[in-house]
Symmetry: C2
Subunit: 338 residues, 2 copies
């Protein structure tokens, strides 16, 4: 088959690769109905995160199970399934505590920008939909594989409660779906920080009540202003830079909650500032597996439409254009059809 390989920064190729095979008895092979490009794929694409060798890309996936290993008991060929970027056994103490992305046997899933994918620990990792979904649900189910689950974790980790005032830093797919998630959890006021008109519009359609275009100290001042000097109850940091973290911490009320769900790149936190800001801080790789049954339910019953973050759909072989469009912020998120 052909699959997506990043050779060096900016050099994405769709090229011949070996077909995936069952390697362990707990593996499954999934034929992908759709896959996509992640904001986090742009870190190595832009050369900010080093890659040491040509690397198969992609970690968001859904599709039909083709084959399972001998040890797989709950997942079977023919099912439509969704998994996430960390394979997990879903039985270890960390999984039982709801932190499947810190599973003691976790494995990074890679190479999903391809027609077929090997998923380790299939029983623990994959969740099947009630039946084969109609085509129009596929984008939202694919979003549940990562960006919706990550936005949901952002809201959950920041303890968003009914009536809360929430601010979201970052207007990428995760930030937009953090808005949607906060809305689902009952937030009354949702402040989206964005300078991009199309993204502001989508944020509003997902439940944002206010838009803040300012950044840094001005952005903090604007949120303090909007909250009568108190700060937001919860700030969901969906970027992962020094500036975005500082903005989140500065915009939260004492006793409030900051969540951070994008891998921090070169971010250092001054503990004394955190101390006197009095905030709660929680984040990490989103335990998407914990939320998948809930997210699938919401999508299946058409209560939410997280698939709207895909504003570009391309045939898989045009994956390089998907990267370019996202890198240049021409697209929020590119869906790829094998």
């Amino acid at each position: 088959m052909h699959a997506t390989i990043l050779h060096k920064p900016g050099d994405i190729r769709f090229e011949d690769c070996p077909d995936p095979k069952i390697l362990a008895a707990t593996d499954a092979i999934v034929r992908l109905s759709a896959t996509c490009v992640c904001g986090s794929d742009l870190w190595p694409y832009r050369g900010i995160q080093e890659i040491k060798q040509p690397t198969p890309m992609g970690h968001e996936y859904c599709g039909i199970v083709e084959e399972v290993g001998k040890g797989v008991t709950s997942i079977r060929p023919g099912q439509f399934v969704i998994g996430s970027f960390f394979a997990s056994d879903n039985t270890c103490p960390h999984c039982k505590a709801g932190y499947q992305s810190s599973c003691r046997h976790r494995e990074l899933v890679g190479g999903a920008q391809a027609p077929r994918l090997r998923v380790p620990l299939a029983d623990g990792t994959l969740v099947a939909t009630p039946e084969i979904p109609p085509d129009e649900l596929v984008p939202s189910l694919l979003a549940s594989s990562d960006v919706f689950g990550t936005g949901w974790f952002a809201a959950d980790a920041a303890k968003v409660k009914p009536g809360a005032t929430v601010a979201v830093v970052g207007d990428g797919a995760v930030g937009l779906l953090a808005v949607l998630s906060a809305k689902q959890m009952g937030a009354e006021r949702i402040i989206a920080m964005s300078r991009h008109v199309a993204r502001q519009k989508l944020a509003r359609s997902y439940g944002a009540t206010d838009i803040v275009e300012e950044r840094g100290v001005d952005g903090i001042a604007r949120i303090q202003d909007l909250t009568k000097g108190l700060g937001a109850d919860a700030v969901l940091e969906c970027v992962g830079t020094q500036e975005s973290m500082a903005q989140a911490i500065g915009a939260t009320r004492p006793g409030g909650f900051v969540s951070y769900v994008g891998v921090p790149h070169g971010v250092s936190l001054d503990a004394q500032n955190l101390f006197f800001r009095h905030v709660h801080l929680h984040g990490g790789p989103a335990p998407v597996r914990r939320y998948l049954p809930t997210l699938i339910d919401l999508v299946w019953s058409r209560k939410v439409d997280p698939g709207k973050v895909f504003d570009l759909t391309l045939p898989l072989e045009q994956v390089a254009e998907g990267y370019r469009a996202m890198d240049e912020r021409r697209a929020i998120k590119a869906l790829l059809r094998p």
Copy 2:
């Protein structure tokens, strides 16, 4: 009167000072039954925290109200009261959320190592005991003014639950009372990190089930070992250094809680490490006022004896010896009798 002034590092003097007076209508003047030296007083005493001018010292206090301003309505002369290091109005939104130490009108209380003290915002800050306490309860009531309240916040901020495995970093008065607090909240296993025999003994009397003498990477390994490689559910960091924070973060299970209650000095946190450790982080200046009614109840009913952390009692005029004894770790905490 005579009061305690720090002139420069190591130079503590008990010298003539003006008597405190009512300055605002919301003030009270308290005649102190007891006061003490705080671990945090050692930062400027040791020259780690700069002092720019001769500074009145002390922020832990309990005693009899002598006089109140015209605007004070709930506190009256003759009552025995306890307050904490931040005066707070106890009515602003931050106070109502339980973060009185971030009160919008907070004022640092200083100069409590003296016979008499002016306390601002008396109605919001001071809590009266049911009646004048017998003398043997005074040390425990004084401990509630800061170190017990701070240890309690450490356990509460780390969400200590019945059955939990808890580790406490730091064997000062706050760490020891964090052990006591975790025990009160139902922790099943409490690991105290200490190399000091007398403190280990007091930790055990307060509920510690295990003692770990190792520090740094070895200390983390020992806790991982004691918890079968999972890490502790909650780690209570009661020191405030880079090493103690690293130890706390490294010893916590994914999804677990790290609290930190000592002002961090020169501590920088790598956000990517925090991210992949998957911990919750919460701390700050303890909102002792939130807990005072509970703590007074516990002391009054003799369920707890936090006053045992005072292993040295001196007449107030010997305050300099109290600083020396704590600096040299000859004493855990020095109580001073005016």
